[in-house]
C-alpha cells in the first residue's frame, strides 16, 4: 500500500519534470535581460553621440581609459602572484610559511579597501621609502619613487591577492587526494606532482572566480581617484566639479564601466561554457 503510493507519486513527479522540460517555450529561456541592457547601452551611446554636454563629458573622461586598464592589468598580475604564493603557502608543510600566508590573508581581508589605500599610500610608503632608498643607494646606487598610481595599484593587488589565495587554496583542495597519491607513487616529487598533476586540474575550478576578480579589480580601480590618479572616475569627478554637469559626468563614467564589465562577463561566460563542455562525461 505504502509502496504503491510512493510509486504513484514518484511517477507523477517524473512526468511533471518531463512535461516542464519538454514544453518550455523559447521565450522562457531567452535572455531578455541582455536585450534590456543592450537597449539601455544603445540609448546611452545615442545620448553621448547627439547631445553636446554628453559629448564634451565623453571627450574629457575617455582619456582616463588607458590608465584604468593599465592599473587593472598590473593589479591583477601582481595579485595573481601573491594569491598563488599565499594559496599554496597555506597548504605548505612548513609551519612558518603556513602561518605567514594565513596571517596575510586574514589580516588584509579584514580591512576595507579605502582605508588600506590611504594607509599604504600616505603612511607606509612615505615612512619606509627614506630608509629603503638609503639602503638601495648604499648597496646598488639606485633609488626609487613610487607614484601614487603605483601605490594604489599595489594596494589593490595586496587585497585581491588575499582573495585569490582563497580561490587557489580551494581549487587545489578540490582535487581528490588520489591524484596526488598517484603522482607521488610514480616517484614524482611534491613539487612535480603539484605542477604537473594538481595545478592543471585545479585551474578549471580557479579560472571562473579569477575572471570575476578581474572584473572586480577593474571596478575598484575607481578608488585610485582618491589619490588623484587621472583614471576614468577621477576625470569624471573633475569634469563634474568644474562644469557642475554632474548628470553628464557620472552618466558617461557609468557607461564606460558598464561597457567594460559587461563585455568581460560575456567573454567569461563563453570561456566557462567551453570549459564545461570539455568536461562532459569526465569521471
Amino acid at each position: 500500500m505504502i509502496g504503491e503510493v510512493a510509486t504513484k507519486s514518484s511517477r507523477h513527479r517524473a512526468e511533471g519534470t518531463a512535461r516542464v522540460r519538454d514544453e518550455k517555450p523559447w521565450w522562457d529561456t531567452f535572455p531578455w535581460w541582455g536585450v534590456f541592457i543592450a537597449g539601455v547601452l544603445a540609448w546611452m551611446a545615442f545620448q553621448i553621440r547627439t547631445q553636446d554636454d554628453y559629448a564634451l563629458a565623453w571627450e574629457r573622461i575617455i582619456p582616463g581609459l588607458s590608465l584604468t586598464l593599465v592599473a587593472t592589468i598590473e593589479a591583477f598580475a601582481i595579485a595573481l602572484l601573491l594569491g598563488l604564493t599565499a594559496g599554496m603557502g597555506q597548504l605548505s608543510r612548513n609551519i612558518v610559511v603556513r602561518n605567514v600566508a594565513r596571517t596575510y590573508v586574514e589580516f588584509i581581508r579584514g580591512i576595507p579597501m579605502l582605508p588600506l589605500i590611504f594607509t599604504v599610500a600616505l603612511i607606509l610608503v612615505p615612512e619606509t621609502s627614506d630608509y629603503v632608498n638609503q639602503r638601495l643607494d648604499a648597496w646598488f646606487g639606485v633609488t626609487y619613487k613610487l607614484s601614487f598610481q603605483m601605490r594604489a595599484t599595489v594596494t589593490l593587488a595586496l587585497i585581491y591577492g588575499a582573495y585569490m589565495a582563497e580561490i587557489f587554496r580551494g581549487g587545489i583542495q578540490s582535487i581528490p587526494p588520489g591524484q596526488s597519491e598517484a603522482g607521488r607513487s610514480l616517484g614524482l616529487t611534491r613539487r612535480q606532482t603539484m605542477r604537473s598533476v594538481v595545478l592543471p586540474q585545479a585551474m578549471r575550478a580557479i579560472i571562473p572566480p579569477l575572471g570575476n576578480d578581474f572584473i572586480a579589480i577593474l571596478k575598484d580601480t575607481s578608488l585610485l581617484s582618491v589619490l588623484g590618479v587621472l583614471e576614468i572616475t577621477q576625470r569624471g569627478r573633475q569634469f563634474s566639479a568644474s562644469t557642475f554637469k554632474f548628470r553628464e559626468g557620472y552618466f558617461v563614467v557609468s557607461f564606460i564601466y558598464l561597457c567594460l564589465t559587461l563585455g568581460l562577463s560575456l567573454l567569461l561566460g563563453v570561456l566557462e561554457r567551453r570549459m564545461t563542455r570539455d568536461r562532459k562525461g569526465e569521471r
Binding site: 581528490p176 588520489g178 591524484q179 597519491e181 598517484a182 603522482g183 607521488r184 607513487s185 610514480l186 616517484g187 614524482l188 616529487t189 612535480q192 604537473s196 598533476v197 592543471p200 586540474q201 562525461g281 569526465e282 569521471r283
Partner: protein
C-alpha cells in the same frame, strides 16, 4: 605469526612490527610482520575496515607507520636519509579508483613520470608506453582521454602507467572493486600474466579466484592483525582460526 618459507634469504619487502594508529585511538594496523621475497605474489584478504589497505599503503609510505620498520629492496623507508621518491619510482601502485590524470591523454599519463623521474626522452618514453599499452591490450587508446574509456580500460592504463617505470614491486589496492562485473576479468588477466612473468606483487582483493590461481601466499588480516598466513589452498580449505573460517564461510560459495 608470519613465517617465511625461505627465511634467511633477503626479502624484497620486509615489514617488522608495523603499526598504524589514526588520531591516537584508531588502531588500523597492529604489529604486522611480513617478509616478501623477490618474485613472490602475496594476496591480502580480510573484512572491510580490517586494515589490509593500510598495510599495503605502508609499503610505499602513502601511510607512514606509527611504529615499526619497512624495508623495500634494501631501502629502510623510515630512515630520514632514504629518498622516498627514489624508492616509490621502483614500487608501482594501482588504486581502486584508477586515479588516472583526467587532464592528460592515455599516452601522456604513461609518459609523465618516465620523463620527469626516469629522465627518458619523449620518443623513448612513448616507445615504452606503447609497449606497455600493447601488453595490456589497448594500444589503440593511446590518444584517448581517461573519461572516454571504460573502467576496465582505465584500470589497464593505470597498470601500464606503473609498469612503464620498470618497477621491482607492484602493489594493487582492490584493483577490481570499482569495476562493473563484466570488466573484472580483463584486469585480472593482465595481473595473472604479470604474476606469471615473475613480478613481485602484493594484492589486496576480494577476488578469491585470483588468489587461488596466482598467489604464492595468502594473508588474512582482521582488525589490523595478521590472523593467518599460508598457501592459498590451505587457508581456504583448512583455516586454522575461527575468524578466518567465519570470513571464508561468508564469501565462498
Amino acid at each position: 605469526m608470519a613465517t617465511h618459507p625461505e627465511s634467511g634469504t633477503t626479502s624484497m619487502i620486509s615489514l617488522r612490527g608495523v603499526s598504524k594508529t589514526f588520531d591516537k585511538t584508531i588502531h588500523a594496523v597492529v604489529d604486522v610482520d611480513l617478509e616478501i621475497a623477490e618474485g613472490e605474489v602475496v594476496v591480502i584478504v580480510g573484512p572491510s575496515g580490517s586494515g589490509k589497505s593500510t598495510v599495503l599503503r605502508c609499503i610505499n609510505l602513502l601511510e607512514v607507520p606509527t611504529e615499526g620498520y619497512v624495508t623495500v629492496d634494501g631501502f629502510e623507508l623510515l630512515d630520514p636519509k632514504t629518498d622516498i621518491d627514489h624508492v616509490r619510482a621502483e614500487v608501482g601502485m594501482v588504486f581502486q579508483q584508477f586515479n588516472l590524470f583526467p587532464h592528460l591523454t592515455v599516452i601522456q599519463n604513461i609518459t609523465l613520470a618516465q620523463r620527469k623521474v626516469r629522465g627518458r626522452s619523449r620518443s623513448e618514453a612513448v616507445e615504452v608506453a606503447m609497449g606497455q599499452l600493447t601488453r595490456v591490450g589497448i594500444p589503440e587508446k593511446a590518444d584517448a582521454y581517461p573519461r572516454q574509456l571504460s573502467g576496465g580500460q582505465q584500470q589497464r592504463v593505470a597498470i601500464a602507467r606503473s609498469l612503464a617505470m620498470d618497477p621491482k614491486v607492484m602493489l594493487f589496492d582492490e584493483p577490481t572493486s570499482a569495476l562493473d562485473p563484466e570488466m573484472v576479468k580483463e584486469v585480472l588477466d593482465v595481473m595473472l600474466e604479470l604474476a606469471a612473468g615473475g613480478m613481485t606483487m602484493v594484492v589486496v582483493t576480494h577476488e578469491m579466484g585470483f588468489a587461488k590461481a596466482a598467489a604464492d601466499r595468502l594473508v588474512f588480516i582482521d582488525e589490523g592483525v595478521i590472523v593467518e598466513i599460508g598457501l592459498p589452498e590451505e587457508v581456504f580449505s583448512n583455516p586454522k582460526h575461527d575468524r578466518t573460517r567465519a570470513f571464508f564461510d561468508k564469501i565462498l560459495y
